[in-house]
């Protein structure tokens, strides 16, 4: 084999005074970085294999380990960064498309960080969430602003089906296959406990998880993996995935290594084969086609479940959303380009799509201009990192947020960005039984419940500070935001004023 010019990205630093050669690191590292050398009676490491997942560091009983970014340096300049150079070396050796996991690591503006939240002073009192009710209950689904009466003049209270959430947060689509059984179980248990929803992604629904159906959103993606009538019936809502923020315009890819027996059964595909879902649904080439699928799904579930259409944030997303609202969808989910992924071509992940903040603001504005904003709910995802991001999203016009990466981090993910290798040391993005076991669903779900509960507390505190005691009064309330360091154009698209105005 010719040399590949690549150098290890990380170095394993072992404090020899502390290392007791217990070999925990060796057992914990699925990437086979650590070895015990009997001749030397000490641990040695192969730095080139380390992905910096921090598993060995966390579990080392004597704190003997740390992983550092190598300070070996390429001769970088303002144009050529180490990542550009190494990517070329990689492609020159393999001739392949480079895959990456999780959201783009590139430095694009994060608009959440350039928006500040309002607080009341004097003229409008803040509300103390410890003394007063602070409501975060959210309903997703089509609303009708025209009241219909029966012949006796009573209000007809029947509505199109709604999803009821205790707090405006849901776990975004992650398929069984891309994540482990235990990760899925953690999400399902937590969603049930919290009174929110998790989403199957395009991997179908493992038979053990049907019990969590009332808190499950089942996804229908282009590959239709695991889609059958029981599956559609099992969930509380059905999501049609047209696009994903990390990889707009392309479909999904689950490497064959992750298609174990259980995954293959759930997905209804042969074991060990790559699961490739195409970019387009091959029966949807227009908005009218989408309408047909929306109604086909409604029809086949007796109009009992809201239908979500998920799209990636792209140019002209306002017009696209308007079309989707008019094609019968009850909820539109928009996924921003910073959103995570189990595996995507890195070049697409890093260059295609637009930030969720801008997409959300323009969709909300467009739907209001057309007078149809209430006819569809908006759920946004794509790197929601904290309760403050949730507040800002709602003030920009979202009904609720989808979180995925944040949820995985709560389960222990250390963002090593190598989910596509299937060797997740934290038992999350893997199907290797010994690794899967590392995530205990009881503990995992507790962490998720804690995370969402903590965020909800923070949301209530911030709402109280704004003098708002119900989440609906924050929805689309852009006066509660101010921009800092944004251009006129950015402020115009976001529909917010600059700080000081």
């Amino acid at each position: 084999m010719s040399i590949n010019f690549l150098q290890p990205e990380y170095e394993v630093v072992r404090n020899m005074d502390r290392c007791i050669t217990c070999r925990v690191c060796e057992r914990q590292c699925a990437n086979e970085v650590h070895h015990y050398n009997a001749d030397l009676d000490r641990m040695v490491s192969d730095d080139s294999k380390c992905v910096d997942c921090q598993r060995c560091v966390t579990l080392c009983p004597t704190n003997a380990l740390k992983i550092v970014k190598t300070n070996n340096c390429f001769k970088e300049n303002a144009n050529w960064h180490t990542s550009d150079i190494t990517d070329i070396y990689r492609q020159a050796t393999t001739g392949g498309v480079l895959l990456g996991s999780m959201g783009t690591p590139k430095e694009y503006p994060v608009y959440w960080d350039k928006l500040l939240i309002n607080a009341s002073q004097v003229t409008n009192p803040s509300i103390d969430p410890l003394r007063e009710p602070m409501e975060t209950r959210t309903f997703l689904g089509k609303k009708d602003a025209t009241i219909h009466y029966d012949k006796d003049g009573n209000i007809i209270t029947k509505t199109t089906p709604q999803l009821e959430l205790s707090t405006p947060i849901m776990f975004s689509a992650m398929s069984y296959g891309s994540i482990s059984y235990n990760a899925h179980k953690s999400l399902a248990m937590a969603a049930t406990k919290l009174g929110i929803y998790y989403n199957t992604g395009e991997g179908g629904l493992h038979e053990d998880f049907y019990v969590y159906g009332p808190n499950t959103i089942v996804q229908v993606a282009s590959g239709r993996f695991g889609v059958h009538s029981d599956y559609l019936e099992a969930g509380a809502a059905i999501e049609i995935k047209m696009g994903q923020g990390a990889k707009p315009g392309i479909g999904g890819h689950l490497p064959g290594a992750k298609i174990t027996e259980a995954v293959s059964k759930t997905r209804m595909i042969p074991q060990g084969t790559d699961a490739i879902s195409p970019a387009p649904h091959h029966d949807i080439y227009s908005i009218e086609d989408l309408r047909q699928l929306v109604y086909m799904l409604k029809e086949s579930t007796n109009y009992k479940k809201p239908v979500i259409v998920k799209i990636a944030a792209v140019h002209n997303v306002g017009a696209i959303a308007s079309g989707i609202a008019r094609c019968g969808a009850d909820i539109i989910a928009i996924d921003g380009f910073r959103g995570g992924t189990g595996a995507a071509p890195a070049r697409i992940r890093d260059n295609v799509g637009i930030p969720i903040e801008l997409a959300l603001a323009s969709v909300d504005r467009r739907l209001r201009e057309e007078g149809i904003r209430n006819q569809v709910s908006l759920v946004v995802g794509g790197s929601i990192r904290s309760s403050a991001d949730v507040i800002k999203a709602i003030a920009l016009g979202a009904d609720a947020c989808y979180i995925a990466t944040s949820a995985l981090i709560a389960l222990g993910c250390h963002l090593c960005r190598t989910c596509h290798l299937g060797k997740c040391n934290w038992g999350i993005a893997t199907q290797v039984p010994e690794l899967v076991k590392r995530l205990n669903p009881a503990i995992g779900s507790e962490h998720l419940v804690n995370l969402v509960t903590a965020w909800t507390h923070e949301i209530k505190e911030m709402m109280g500070g704004m003098g708002i005691n119900s989440i609906e009064a924050l929805r689309g309330n852009r006066l509660m935001l101010r921009g800092v360091g944004l251009t006129e154009k950015e402020l115009e698209i976001l529909g917010v004023k600059h700080a000081g105005e």
Partner: protein, 370 residues
């Protein structure tokens, strides 16, 4: 004279005083009473706005829409009158009588028109009459620069200005009017562009609102209601509240009590404890009109033909008192503002947050006022 920025350019958080007086028997009494009540709450205003709404004040023209207008200049007047001529039969027009007093300055041209929609135009529009009139009002207020229709109901009228409310009352010679219902407002904006149109009451058709408080849901409410043809040009909380009431009551046919239960919706915990029928209805209303929930402090008095409604925000962050004596009902920010009119009361209540207090004319009186 009108170089100062107007509402719409500047947002004004307000404090304020409100008062409402109502005769269930439809006895008509002068605006003097309202002036007396609001004078007592002088310190709740800061001289930057005051106003009144009187119901039953134009019995001789009760079948016509009474438009009250502010004009910045004669160009605006000409343009607006052309529009009105185009859309209405003009039964009568005049300057609204005022009295020169040193406390009120910078007055615009203040005119009054009694109008009836042009039958042909109305038929052409294919709209119900009230909607036709409402759309004409919104059209003038959003498109004719320097013209503001600040009152547009039948047999009622709004009188407002920049100044302390008691001075505004004297300026408009309200002792010369008699109505069965009056509301009044003294304004305490913390910053003002000082424009007459921004004073309260804010009204559309016969619905008028006086309001104490600054709502934190303003932009959520505004961005929702604007989907239904309304334009919030003044950026005041009162304006958006008026439009929401107009939408829910006039366009959706909800009674005022239900309207109140959307604007100041019961908490979910309360709804959860209701019987199945009520629960279904309240859940429906709260879910479908979620964006019309008002948060932040408010006490409002809503005037409408034949009735008054007092409503507090659901946390009761602002004061509001209701007193009754014989057929008279009094509502005010302070009990003293009621006692000054009627020291002896049959009852005095402090409506709970979110629980509307609604009073309407006795049946006979209502028929008379129609």
């Amino acid at each position: 004279m009108f170089n100062a920025p107007k509402e719409g350019d500047v947002r004004i958080p307000s404090g304020c005083a409100i008062s409402g007086i109502f005769s269930k028997k439809g006895k008509r009494f002068s605006g003097e009473q309202a002036i007396k009540s609001i004078t007592l709450m002088h310190d709740r205003s800061n001289g930057l706005g005051g106003g009144f709404a009187g119901y039953g004040i134009y019995p001789e023209y009760k079948d016509y829409y009474a438009f009250h207008l502010f004009y910045d200049d004669t160009i605006a007047k000409k343009e607006c009158e052309e529009f009105l001529e185009d859309h209405f039969d003009m039964i009568n027009l005049s300057k609204i009588p005022t009295r020169k007093i040193p406390q009120i300055t910078n007055e615009p041209m203040i005119w009054r028109y009694f109008l009836s929609p042009l039958p042909t135009k109305l038929a052409e529009s294919q709209l119900p009459e009230s909607e036709y009139v409402a759309q004409c009002v919104i059209k003038v207020n959003t498109t004719i620069k320097g013209a503001c229709i600040f009152s547009s109901g039948k047999n009622m009228g709004v009188f407002k200005a920049q100044g302390f409310p008691e001075d505004v009352g004297r300026f408009y010679r309200l002792e010369e009017y008699a109505g069965y219902s009056w509301t009044v407002h003294g304004r305490y904006p913390t910053n003002t562009p000082g424009w007459w149109g921004g004073a309260h009451p804010f009204s559309l058709l016969d619905c008028s609102v006086v309001h104490n408080g600054e709502i934190s849901s303003y932009d959520a409410n505004r961005r929702f209601i604007e989907m239904f043809g309304y334009r919030c040009t003044l950026l005041t909380d009162t304006e958006v509240i008026t439009y929401m009431i107009d939408y829910l009551h006039r366009k959706q046919g909800l009674g005022y009590e239900k309207v109140a239960h959307i604007l100041a919706a019961p908490f979910w915990s309360t709804i959860d404890r209701m019987n199945e029928k009520d629960k279904a209805e309240y859940t429906y209303l709260r879910d479908n009109f979620a964006s019309m929930l008002i948060t932040g402090p408010f006490s409002i008095i809503v005037g409408f033909t034949g009735g008054l409604m007092a409503l507090n925000d659901r946390l009761k962050l602002r004061s509001l008192v209701v007193g009754t004596k014989d057929d008279m009902v009094y509502m005010a920010s302070e009990e003293a503002a009621i006692r000054v009119l009627s020291p002896q009361l049959d009852s005095i209540t402090y409506p709970k947050g979110g629980e509307p207090f609604i009073v309407t004319l006795d049946k006979e009186a209502y028929q008379q006022c129609q």
